[in-house]
């Protein structure tokens, strides 16, 4: 009898396997946000693709891009994506030391990426190839800069997560926040895969 009561009381939206867990629902909601973010990046990619040849007599992608710096940035971001994944394994096991250590490593690698990107931007501006030079460079700085802003926001979020794990422990809601953060961080790495391939590597070949 109490079994039947339990079913009517807790079985909202019950399908074959029972209602989805909060974790699945939170992940789904954040995934929808991430896809909308990706669509925003798609508009910036489209703008860049259309304007890539509009150099207004200024320097072209081939003359400006430095493959070595891009390779380093890629390595930093890929490594930070993997340490973020390892950190989620530590979070699942509620291991404070490993969680904090791996998140710190993730943050340092993200900061290294950001430092390399800023160095590249200042070098471009210093060579007279700032965002005001041509439509190509405006589109380039908008696209890559927007990704950099996302990384900066991600670093702030990462610091917040570390503080929350320390102060509040491995509570269910904090773990859900961390799930969202890890999705965000991995998605940014996917956007970077598109940037380094389609902007930098294709750019030096056109």
């Amino acid at each position: 009898m109490s079994h039947a009561v339990a079913h009517t009381q807790y079985a909202t939206g019950r399908g074959e396997g029972g209602p989805a867990s909060k974790r699945v629902i939170v992940g789904y909601g954040f995934w929808i946000f991430l896809l909308s973010d990706v669509i925003m990046f798609a508009t910036l990619f489209a703008t860049y693709a259309v304007l890539a040849d509009s150099t207004a007599g200024g320097p072209s992608a081939r003359q400006l891009f430095d493959t070595r710096s891009v390779a380093l940035e890629t390595a930093c971001l890929l490594a930070s994506s993997v340490t973020c994944g390892f950190a989620s394994l530590a979070v699942e096991r509620a291991n404070q030391t490993w969680t904090q250590g791996l998140l710190l490593l993730t943050g340092l690698l993200g900061a290294a990426f950001l430092a390399l990107e800023l160095r590249e931007f200042t070098s471009l501006v210093g060579r007279g190839a700032g965002p005001t030079r041509s439509a190509f460079l405006s589109a380039f700085f908008t696209l890559v800069g927007c990704h950099g802003v996302h990384i900066t926001a991600g670093l702030l979020w990462l610091g917040t997560m570390m503080a929350q794990f320390l102060a509040k422990g491995f509570r269910e809601d904090i773990r859900h926040r961390y799930l969202c953060f890890s999705l965000f961080w991995h998605a940014l790495d996917i956007v970077w895969v598109a940037i380094f391939n389609l902007v930098y590597l294709v750019g030096i070949n056109l």
């Binding site: 339990a6 807790y10 995934w31 259309v50």
Partner: protein, 129 residues
């Protein structure tokens, strides 16, 4: 009553939570495999950008193929977008996102190239100012 609360807690836990406590070694191996595949595809992209082995005009297409492959690897190994039953909604949302993304990018390139072509043609026939 106690029983029903217990039951509620049990119901509140989905398949991904039990999966979350799967063995540590498997999790680490999965991330390492993802990393290895991503590194190989990244290296392939950088190689394709420099090599003279690939027919010149085909290089951007080769890089694009490596890029899409790497995005797939990231989705499966890092974002855990799988074919599992609790992932159906995520996969459907992703499919829609990919559709919109491709429409925006290739639609823009197509329309703007067309416009560019027609405008250039129109300018040729304009009287000199």
């Amino acid at each position: 009553m106690n029983h029903s609360v217990e039951n509620g807690e049990v119901l509140d836990r989905g398949p991904s939570d039990t999966a979350a406590h799967a063995d540590l070694r498997g999790g680490i191996r999965s991330y390492c495999l993802g990393l290895a595949l991503a590194v190989i595809l990244t290296a392939a992209s950088f190689w394709a950008a420099r090599t003279h082995l690939i027919y010149g005009p085909a290089v951007p297409m080769a890089i694009a193929v490596f890029a899409f492959a790497q995005m797939g690897i990231h989705l499966v190994f890092f974002l855990h977008i799988t074919t599992g039953p609790d992932n159906t909604n995520n996969v459907l949302a992703l499919a829609f996102g990919v559709l919109i993304t491709l429409l925006i990018i290739f639609g823009s390139i197509w329309i703007m190239a067309n416009l560019d072509h027609n405008m250039a043609h129109a300018l040729e026939h304009m009287p000199p100012m």
